[in-house]
């Protein structure tokens, strides 16, 4: 869609250039002639009162006036151009100073750009290093996490084992306590029975001994 528009636009532009440029000088000439005509009209109107029929002297006079007018115009033009030259010179100086300033700025900016570029390169290098480091750390992290999982599992297993051991130990101690208690109870009974028996035996022995004791004579 846009291509045909641009094509038409370009063609119209070329047509304008073709049709207007050949007549540009003509227009200038016509305008100059118009100016001259206006001047002649003025001069003729001013001279109307003095002489109605123009003669050779009048034509010369007209010519002189015309030349004076042209001279004045040229003077004006020269002064305009001179002032224009001064202006342009000032502008040029200003532009030079601006150019110098911009050049300095450009140099500074170029230096900054080069330093930034160097910094960027350095940062890129650092980024690359860090990305490598990050990859390595991620790997390490994942391996550590795996190790942690394994360690946790091992810990759980060890805990289970420990609890089992403790349970067995508790069982053992309970059994030992029970055995000890039972043994003490039996020993106590035996001791009591023994004490009773020994008392009975002693009681039984005493009269027998007195009976069996031989006479002193």
């Amino acid at each position: 869609m846009e291509s045909w528009k641009s094509h038409v636009r370009a063609e119209l532009f070329h047509r304008d250039c073709r049709q207007r440029d050949p007549f540009s000088g003509l227009f200038e000439k016509v305008s100059r002639l118009e100016e001259m005509l206006t001047l002649h009209m003025k001069l003729s109107s001013s001279d109307k009162g003095s002489s109605r029929c123009p003669d050779e002297g009048g034509i010369l006079h007209l010519r002189v006036n015309e030349l004076e007018f042209l001279n004045q115009q040229l003077k004006q033009k020269i002064s305009d151009l001179t002032s224009n030259i001064y202006l342009k010179e000032a502008e040029l100086q200003y532009c030079h100073s601006q150019v110098a300033r911009y050049r300095t700025e450009a140099v500074v900016l170029a230096q900054g750009a080069s330093s930034l570029k160097a910094g960027l390169e350095e940062y890129e290098y650092q980024l690359e290093c860090q990305s490598k480091e990050l990859t390595a750390l991620r790997l390490e992290h994942s391996s550590l996490r795996e190790e942690l999982t394994a360690a946790n599992l091992q810990n759980e297993q060890l805990l289970e084992r420990w609890l089992e051991e403790k349970k067995e130990e508790a069982e053992r101690i309970n059994k030992y306590n029970a055995t000890q208690e039972r043994w003490q109870r039996l020993a106590g009974r035996l001791k009591k029975r023994h004490r009773v028996r020994s008392r009975t035996a002693c009681a039984a022995d005493k009269p027998t001994e007195s009976k069996t004791e031989p006479p002193s004579s």
């Binding site: 805990l159 420990w162 609890l163 403790k166 130990e169 508790a170 306590n177 003490q184 023994h194 031989p214």
Partner: protein, 236 residues
């Protein structure tokens, strides 16, 4: 016959002498065989109330610098002498955390002679949870005649006390328990810590029936059949 008499008499005397000697030996061996009595005391309560520190203070005489959560149970012993009798106080420092207790619980309560309930005076929750601990204790067939004491630990943190003594005392009275408020950390309170276990040991010593109690192990539980000796000579 006359000759025979002295011989037989001598023989009888010899045999009697032998009997006497053997009976003396038996008596001595029995005396030796009757070893030190063991009193199994379990210490229960919420985690981080200071059970381990209390038991360590009693058995080791110091406050442990660093303690980890007890896994299952830790056994501690201390030989004490009460009225001339040597007694071994076997303290079972139990785990407070459920995950470390698991299947151990029945072993705690088997043939237990006394129970120490511990709470943290700076944590009301640990005091409120005592009901659960008592329920657990009763649920494992521990007879009401088994002495129980209530211990409020960490009394040295005076500024942070949350459980008033009156409340604890009421609770202890309601459950027929003695109350001790102490600190395993404070060296000045060490005697108080000792007195907890010594008091229990004295009470247990006074309850002579413990030796002769009929242990029925068919169902793995202890049933106390004899009544405690009413004459108690406990010094505490």
């Amino acid at each position: 016959m006359a000759n025979e008499f002295p011989v037989s008499r001598e023989g009888t005397a010899n045999s009697r002498h032998a009997n006497l000697t053997s009976s003396l030996d038996l008596s001595t061996s029995l005396d030796h065989s009757v070893q030190t009595r063991i009193f199994k005391i379990i210490v229960i309560g919420d985690s981080n109330v200071g059970k381990t520190c209390l038991t360590f203070r009693f058995t080791g005489g110091a406050f442990p610098c660093k303690t980890e959560a007890t896994i299952g149970v830790d056994f501690r012993e201390k030989a004490v002498e009460i009225e001339g009798e040597k007694i071994k106080v076997q303290v079972w420092d139990t785990a407070g955390q459920e995950r470390f207790r698991k299947s151990m619980v029945e072993h705690y309560y088997r043939n237990v002679h006394a129970v120490v309930f511990v709470y943290d005076v700076t944590k009301m929750a640990s005091f409120q949870n005592l009901k659960t601990w008592i329920q657990e204790c009763n649920g494992h067939g521990v007879s009401s005649s088994v002495p129980r004491v209530l211990v409020g630990n960490k009394c040295d943190l005076v500024e942070q006390i949350q459980v008033p003594s009156n409340t604890a005392l009421k609770f202890a009275d309601a459950h027929n328990m003695l109350l001790f408020e102490t600190s395993a950390k404070d060296p000045k309170e060490s005697q108080n810590v000792d007195s907890i276990f010594m008091c229990l040991a004295c009470r247990l010593k006074a309850q002579k029936y413990l030796i002769y109690r009929d242990v029925e192990r068919e169902d793995g539980r202890v049933r106390l059949k004899h009544q405690p000796d009413p004459k108690s000579n406990c010094p505490c």
